[in-house]
């Protein structure tokens, strides 16, 4: 389920968190779904269990997952809402970018067309892990 990019700069820790959030946002993971155990994930990704443990702890800290002792970790009820909330913060970036486009003399219709195009994507295909810069 996780696609770890080892050549990129992004630490595995962040990649696991990011991809879990994306999978929840797109509905691949639903509330109540169980996450793989640290041990299983460590074998799957050939990644340090302590690193994965920390990524899981972070997801739990922000309330995206909850763990039931002895039963594993599950996606929380409000996970999607939490992630959406955080995404709303990015609206400021959209605004900022639009302002820049405006200054540069790009037609409003073109910007809106780009937004339309973004929304036309199938949410499940946007899941590819973000590539880290290789400079």
């Amino acid at each position: 389920m996780f696609q770890i990019d080892r050549m990129g700069r992004k630490p595995i820790y962040e990649q696991v968190i990011e991809q879990t959030e994306l999978m929840i946002a797109s509905g691949v993971l639903k509330p109540g779904d169980q996450l793989p155990s640290v041990r299983a994930l460590s074998q799957m990704l050939s990644a340090n269990p302590n690193t994965l443990q920390k990524a899981y702890a972070e997801l739990e800290r922000v309330g995206i997952t909850a763990s039931a002792p002895g039963n594993g970790r599950f996606i929380g009820k409000d996970a999607k809402a939490l992630i959406q909330e955080r995404m709303l913060d990015l609206l400021a970036d959209v605004e900022h970018l639009s302002a820049k486009m405006h200054v540069a003399g790009i037609e409003k219709a073109q910007v809106i067309a780009a937004v339309e195009k973004g929304y036309a994507h199938n949410p499940k295909t946007v899941l590819q892990p973000e590539k880290g810069q290789s400079t």
Partner: protein
């Protein structure tokens, strides 16, 4: 837990370790990096009880390691060159290991040899270098020890085997709380493998950190502004390194990425790019701060 307290080790005039202090917690993968001759191997040999420190102490679970067979049974050293009895095969070496480690697990040994695809009754001197290394790792994993010392052992394994060895080690770490201490020159590899990292320089540890913290608390950014500017524009940022080429500045900064992102976006930059830093970059900057340029020291040795 391994604690080194003011450890000094000399070989004649050479001071290999100079008042080294470190704490290696249980169940972690601890990476040790440093230039050639920084004292990595010496440290491993002290921690595994092969050498005795000239000054200071090195303790595992609060007990001195040197000449302490009970403690030494709890650790295993995998050297870059696997020593074996003349004409011995892996089975015979298993007996030798079992004589030293009463926790040696023959079942595990055979299972691992099968998984790695190594013949247990072929003389070891017919093995290739990489195969001998694998044999050493299989024996080590079968000892049931709590602490594994890998002295540049990963560097000579092919990617498939490396991944398999890592998976096996991660299981030991997760299931039994084993500790793995690795030295390597492949920072890229250590970055993915370890959770703790230490930088050795001239016989002392100059930096010790949690890898995730290191990677999330320090980052690189490229920024450009329309107007002329200099370093003073970034006042308030914890800058580790600053360089400017034309209108583009490259900064290495410590701190909260999201906060900096906000702060700098508000300054209306032409370009703002923040990328996580690689370990290699961190070490180059840290070493530069210490007055060391990678590769320089070796060159000097050659010209002497």
């Amino acid at each position: 837990m391994i604690i080194a307290n003011n450890v000094t080790k000399r070989f004649g005039d050479i001071v290999a370790l100079d008042h080294l202090n470190c704490k290696i917690p249980d169940s972690c993968v601890y990476g040790l990096v440093g230039a050639n001759g920084a004292g990595k191997s010496t440290f491993l040999r002290l921690a595994s009880g092969v050498f005795q420190p000239d000054e200071g102490s090195i303790k595992m679970n609060q007990l001195p390691v040197f000449e302490n067979s009970d403690i030494k049974k709890r650790s295993v050293f995998i050297a870059d060159e696997f020593w074996s009895l003349p004409r011995a095969d892996m089975k015979r070496m298993a007996d030798l290991y079992a004589a030293a480690y009463d926790t040696y697990d023959y079942k595990k040994f055979h299972a691992l040899a099968g998984e790695f695809g190594l013949p247990v009754d072929r003389p070891l001197n017919t093995f290739s270098k990489g195969m001998r290394r694998q044999a050493a790792i299989i024996h080590a994993l079968s000892t049931g020890a709590d602490v594994y010392f890998f002295d540049e052992t990963f560097d000579g394994l092919d990617p498939v085997i490396r991944s398999l060895v890592k998976k096996k080690l991660y299981n030991e770490v997760f299931d039994r709380g084993a500790t793995v201490i690795v030295t390597s020159h492949s920072l890229r590899e250590l970055e993915d493998t370890c959770d703790q990292l230490a930088l050795l320089y001239k016989g002392g540890i100059v930096m010790e950190s949690d890898v995730n913290e290191l990677k999330t608390s320090i980052f690189k950014m490229q920024v450009a502004f329309l107007d002329e500017y200099d370093k003073s524009k970034f006042e308030g940022l914890d800058i580790v390194s600053f360089s400017k080429l034309g209108s583009v500045a490259t900064l290495i900064v410590r701190g909260d990425k999201a906060k900096y992102q906000k702060k700098l976006s508000a300054m209306e930059p032409l370009l703002l790019e923040m990328v996580p830093i690689t370990l290699e970059e961190i070490f180059v900057y840290e070493m530069e701060a210490l007055g060391y340029v990678f590769g320089k020291e070796e060159d000097e040795h050659e010209t002497v």
